[in-house]
Point group: C2
Chain length 108, copies 2
DNA sequence: TTGTGGTGCAACCTTTTGGTTGCGCATCTG
DNA sequence: CAGATGCGCAACCAAAAGGTTGCACCACAA
């Protein structure tokens, strides 16, 4: 039951603004909340909260640099989400396969 | 910006109870809200709301059968989530690769 | 030293979540 | 038919999400 990490990752990805931040961070290397707020239709404070959610999920890390805080992508935790999805899809395929064989070879 | 489907899928997966429902539905083929409420520490009504979220994401479908409503897994939309994660991870790897080559071959 | 730009923190507000209880209706069963 | 059983709808509630504004503070530049 202790997959709070998974909770946080899926939660972080459930918001389009946050997914957009992730995508921007692939090409931009590092970014500040103020910069993001320039591109997005929301306040710097709102951006800041979204970044906090991403940091909480471990998807982003921020470090202060002089008077600004730069955030960079740390996409490791995406693997946890990928893995979960992979297991589910694999088990589902397994079930279908078992069902198919059951029909082909006949029951019993 | 029209990936509301993705919103719904990630949102549905962000809750441990809902993930648990998905997992149960792999081995059980179909289930009712009342059955789930028997296993889980919450009310049938709460389960019902979780199922509504899963239905909204297209991950589960329910159809009435006599006096009970049976829910079965329809995991198709998981592909959208997988695909999104795949693209992000691929682009990230691409960025790292480009960076590595940049260092190896020397800048310019 | 006096601005100025960038942050973080806190208060506040509205909407959504996740949960509950209560009820009425439909559907099987004895 | 008379109970059970299962469901959906609605009301209600506390807490969290997502957003805003205001403010104090720190770092840098003139």
């Amino acid at each position: 039951m202790g997959d709070e990490r998974l909770d946080a990752v899926f939660f972080a990805l459930a918001d389009p603004t946050r997914r957009s931040v992730v995508r921007r961070l692939i090409s931009r290397e590092s970014v500040t909340a103020t910069q993001l707020a320039g591109d997005l239709p929301i306040t710097r404070q709102a951006v800041s909260k979204h970044l906090a959610a991403l940091v909480d999920a471990g998807l982003v890390a921020g470090h202060r640099e002089g008077r600004e805080t730069r955030y960079r992508l740390t996409p490791g935790p995406l693997d946890a989400a990928s893995a979960w999805l992979g297991v589910i899809e694999a088990q589902w395929d397994g079930r279908l396969e078992r069902l198919r064989r059951h029909v082909e070879d006949g029951p019993r």
